[in-house]
Symmetry: C2
Amino acid sequence: MYKGYMPDDRLFLAVDCIIFGFDDEDLKVLLVQRDFEPEKGKWSLMGGFLKKDETLDDAASRILYRLTGMHDIYLEQLYAFSDVNRDPVARTISTSYFAIVNIEKHHEKSTDNFKAKWFSLSKVPNLIFDHDEMLAKAVRRLRRRTSINPIGFELLPEKFTMRQLQKLYETILDKELDKRNFINKIKSMDILIKLKEKDMTSSTKGSYLYQFDQEKYDEKQTNDFYLKL
Amino acid sequence: MYKGYMPDDRLFLAVDCIIFGFDDEDLKVLLVQRDFEPEKGKWSLMGGFLKKDETLDDAASRILYRLTGMHDIYLEQLYAFSDVNRDPVARTISTSYFAIVNIEKHHEKSTDNFKAKWFSLSKVPNLIFDHDEMLAKAVRRLRRRTSINPIGFELLPEKFTMRQLQKLYETILDKELDKRNFINKIKSMDILIKLKEKDMTSSTKGSYLYQFDQEKYDEKQTNDFYLKL
């Protein structure tokens, strides 16, 4: 086991973050513009190198904080990318993470130090290195997660209408859902709190607002529950 | 991005493999006994170090081949474990993979060079380092995969009865399934070929044998299909 082969050349360990957001219209990803060679000017995922005394999770949190100013973001390790020539400068293995942030909250924070921009998934430009592949894998993982548990809620404002929730799922899954069917399935999950407040902007009658019931959600989480839309 | 922090001490990159098998009775995992310090004599996942010119996938295949003599095994990257002190000898980040092998086929090959042994999941001893955590994560991933697509078929002999298939799913998911319900769901997946042959060992009437239809399976794979048992 822990004898035998060791890398005899230097090798770098990076972390790259796929940061998803949702703005009532589109599923978006936050990219930064690279300001040094190679591939200067191209868009890239936000990344950085692992420090000596931190775990990969720590590194991902630090990188996210640096870009967004946000802590307590949903963050999940995605995949370690290790093609020998994936980075032309030096061999670099990158462990990717995907994060889900609330765009509204993000806008309060400064990202002035970076040329960062939200791109709709359908309008993402060609990215550096293998970052296209990382993004594609993250989208697949996000879709799978959303089918298995109500992860998508992280993308909504604290109070939301049923219509907003449906739109979110339609956007992530990239397909139209039947309204009645959707409402029934979501209600059967029993993880929402219906508020007395209404959102009056969408119609004169108004639409009830909902909140996500974290406690009930945590219970379900442990019992592997499924939402097949 | 690719400037800034680099690890300034040596750091090792390992790959550890969780190898699952099934023998009609139990879901099992293949472990090796460690023959050097620290933790000499304890059981461990099969692992090794990444070589200079290989990807993590290559390393996992090489390690599996070394232990089992088998190529073309179902292999999936699981997770990179990076706790700073996870290995007492030197900082080592290990990317774990899980593999699914057919125990029958494996028995044809020699593993004489290693003290390797199949353990039923319920009888796995304490493992070295964080290997218990790796195994637990692999079991959860396997269960999730099995609920989403028919991955479990890799664990069966080429021709199998419906009873064997149900037993496999019951073992992986660790719960009893209703026979009629199970058969209906499996049939609705439309990925089995019913053979004219029967297995005559289980009853005098015999049980039809089935084969897995790889082509139909590959079609479904691409369309995200779900099997909720």
